[in-house]
């Protein structure tokens, strides 16, 4: 029997799982792995902070569907991954963090750089492991990949004591995993599928509400076929954007707190809502008791805990979104009988809502003649002809990126949805570029968010990743300031950031190109220059701090009680 070390076993396991790249940061507890990794065919991307390494892995996973892999050391290395793990898990993104741990005999002794990371991350991961022996390492790794990537995907942490990595064992990689207690339900129940189809055929004012599950399951094509076959308009949650073509005539835009008027109105007046891979999040439903009161609700989700969690539904269908939609389509022949005569009126009603309250802003009404942030997004959309991968941070810019850039393809819009992690954008964008080097990847960010992981400019420079960083710089923490504008007497407590830093000089300090724009004309020039440049570019757009995100549903209101314009301030 030939034996190899735990560190070597881990690398062999990664190869069997077709891992190509690992994001992370080294330390004493993981040095054995790095020693062998450096001699292997696998690529290691040295991020400059462990939190950013997890976001980079998320960017890799979100842009491809393949699991993102992270390697960090024990103690602070491990605790720095907490935000990334929580965000990935909440958005159902397959990310696996391998953390170093002190040797088994030291666990519980308050050893140097020791932390009970399995305890810390228990509630924010889909599952986690402390590997007790070198012999069981391969089994744990196999299970970790299986759990992270199947069912409703999620984040998994594997904690690796140093002596387990140094120990020797025979390398046997399990061919398959059987977890008695974990068997995701993927196949739709035929009886439920029949109920769904009968409701779809009867509906006169149907709406499809699509979430991130459509993208995770690879169900965009089936969704498009279904919508076109029955002429059903489609709205997407923030996580669902790209799951249905943004330029399609049946697309309503995003719904919810900053959703389009027509999307929210359509949901409120619908007689049937087909929710696919979505979870009726509070940012979508607004006041739950008033949400879609006239509609029967069909809910397709692979996670049974999502069903009836917020909104009681009429027909639950626990299944993989793609399999469920395929089963529904099987029962709808190419020319099915449905309430076709009702559609022109329903679609016209929706168009009329849009004509009365379109998504709009006025570039020319700023007293200082500053750029409007929405204008930057539109200019980016035009310059990239809608083809770029857009990665956002969190805040006003994120909502404008969701509203004004139209995403025709899944995995084209990458954002931190459920947890709303500022500092996500830059590292996630570099992770997306590692996965898809041929793509144009733009991170749309704010002057608040981008500073939260600005050290990643060093990673970008070292790896030569041509990330285009578009900073909507308004000198404030805009999303919180907007709440202060509307509901807190304009007392801008703790939201003024000022002019710091000078992003052009900051870019120069990392050896990167930095450009600044102060007018709409300069905006278009800067974007053209940045896109023509083969390398990374930081774009600093000095935008109006007065602009707020509309429509907006105030907290505790129904989603058709939207504030549409600043003029309607209470």
């Amino acid at each position: 029997m030939t034996t190899i070390s735990g560190a070597e076993i881990l690398i062999e396991c990664w190869k069997r799982e077709n891992v190509e790249v690992i994001f992370g940061y080294p330390g004493a507890a993981t040095i054995d792995i790095h020693h062998h990794l450096g001699a292997s065919s696998l690529r290691f991307v040295l991020c400059r902070h462990e939190q950013a390494a997890v976001h980079a892995a998320e960017g890799y996973a979100r842009s491809t569907g393949r699991p993102g892999v992270v390697l960090v050391t024990s103690g602070p290395g491990a605790t720095n991954t907490v935000t990334g793990l929580a965000g990935a898990n909440m958005d159902s993104i397959p990310v696996i963090v391998f953390s170093g741990q002190v040797s088994r005999m030291l666990i519980g002794n308050d050893a140097f750089q020791e932390v009970d990371i399995v305890g810390v991350t228990r509630g924010i991961t889909k599952h986690n492991y402390l590997v007790f022996s070198t012999q069981e390492l391969a089994q744990c790794v196999k299970e970790a990949f299986h759990v992270a990537t199947t069912g409703r995907p999620g984040a998994v942490l594997v904690d690796l004591p140093k002596d387990v990595l140094a120990g020797q064992a025979e390398f046997l990689y399990p061919r398959k995993v059987f977890l008695r207690a974990y068997q995701p339900h993927l196949t739709p129940h035929p009886k439920q599928v029949h109920k769904v189809v009968s409701l779809l055929k009867k509906a006169t004012r149907p709406v499809i509400y699509a979430g991130g599950g459509v993208i995770a399951a690879g169900a965009a094509e089936e969704l498009l076929t279904l919508a076109e076959r029955l002429e059903i308009p489609v709205t997407c949650s923030l996580m669902g954007l790209g799951g249905f073509p943004g330029t399609h005539r049946l697309f309503l835009g995003m719904l919810g707190m900053h959703g389009l008027y027509r999307a929210n109105m359509a949901v409120q007046k619908a007689d049937l809502i087909l929710a696919v891979g979505a979870r009726f999040d509070d940012r979508v439903t607004g006041l739950l008791t008033q949400f879609a009161k006239e509609a029967d609700i069909i809910h397709i989700d692979v996670d049974s805990t999502s069903i009836h969690k917020n909104r009681e539904v009429d027909v639950p269908l626990v299944a993989d979104a793609r399999q469920a939609l395929a089963a529904i389509l099987d029962l709808l022949t190419p020319a099915p009988e449905y309430q076709a005569e009702s559609r022109p009126l329903w679609l016209e009603t929706i168009s009329e809502w849009h004509r009365s309250c379109p998504l709009t802003y006025n570039q020319d009404d700023d007293p200082d003649g500053l750029i409007k942030p929405q204008m930057v997004i539109e200019a980016l959309y035009q310059a990239t002809r809608g083809k770029a991968v857009i990665v956002t941070d969190v805040g006003q810019h994120q909502m404008w990126a969701a509203q004004y850039y139209l995403y025709d393809n899944p995995r084209q819009f990458i954002t931190s949805g459920g947890l709303g992690v500022m500092g996500f954008g830059l590292p996630a964008a570099l992770g997306a570029l590692v996965a898809r080097p041929e793509a144009t990847v733009i991170t749309i960010t704010g002057d608040g968010s981008v500073l939260m992981n600005i050290q990643e400019l060093a990673t970008v420079a070292q790896e030569g990743l041509p990330v285009k960083v578009a900073i909507l710089n308004n000198g404030t923490l805009g999303m919180v300031r907007q709440l202060q504008d509307l509901f807190y007497d304009r007392r801008y407590a703790a939201t003024t950031l000022g002019p710091w830093p000078d992003f052009v000089k900051l870019a120069a300090a990392f050896g990167l190109k930095g450009l600044v724009a102060r007018t709409p004309a300069e905006t278009r020039e800067v974007i053209a220059t940045a896109l023509a440049d083969p390398g990374p570019v930081i774009m600093d757009f000095k935008v109006s701090p007065r602009e707020n995100v509309f429509p907006m549903v105030p907290a505790g209101r129904a989603i058709d009680e939207m504030i549409l314009r600043p003029l309607e301030l209470p």
Partner: protein, 178 residues
């Protein structure tokens, strides 16, 4: 979600889990993390040494309990969750109680022990220690009566329960191959 306790009910949940370190922590953290108290808890290995049974009692509205059960089922190490309120079952708990047994009270305490089918498991010059097994109503009744003599100390196990018909558990088709 309705957090008021107007229609809150007591539920006994039988949770079959993988017999591995950390699993109890996952189960209890899931419940406490949502702000619910565990009124009683007992854990022991089942006939299958790879499987443990956690019997726990918690109180909540039907909607909350149903959500807790679904969340428990989502845990990777949880094999099966049964709300015993929904099935015919038998519950038992064990209490040990040390009561003052002064001259003149001893015969009465022994008579009570006989009525409640309790065992006297330890005797000192001034005290009797009783072991009482039963459902919660019986135990409450016995303790109320014993209180008159003066209870020095009382300890209790968690409640455990068994359904009156089998709770099916899926067996592995095959062991993971190499």
């Amino acid at each position: 979600m309705d957090l008021s306790s107007d229609n809150a009910q007591r539920h006994t949940l039988a949770v079959l889990v993988d017999n591995r370190p950390g699993v109890l922590a996952r189960v209890s953290a899931l419940i406490s993390g949502r702000g619910f108290n565990i009124d009683s808890l007992s854990v022991a290995e089942t006939m299958d040494p790879d499987v443990s049974l956690i019997t726990l009692i918690t109180t909540g509205t039907p909607k909350i309990i149903s959500q807790v059960i679904k969340q428990l089922r989502k845990l990777i190490n949880v094999i099966k969750v049964t709300d015993l309120a929904e099935v015919d079952h038998v519950e038992r708990q064990l209490v040990m109680v040390r009561v003052k047994a002064v001259e003149g009270h001893r015969a009465e305490i022994m008579r009570l022990a006989k009525i409640f089918r309790a065992q006297i498991i330890d005797v000192s010059s001034r005290t009797y220690t009783l072991e009482i097994t039963g459902g919660q109503d019986k135990i409450r009744a016995a303790l109320t009566l014993l209180a008159d003599f003066g209870v020095e100390e009382q300890v209790s196990t968690g409640l455990t329960a068994i359904s009156r018909s089998p709770l099916a558990v899926k067996k592995p088709d095959s062991k993971p191959g190499h």
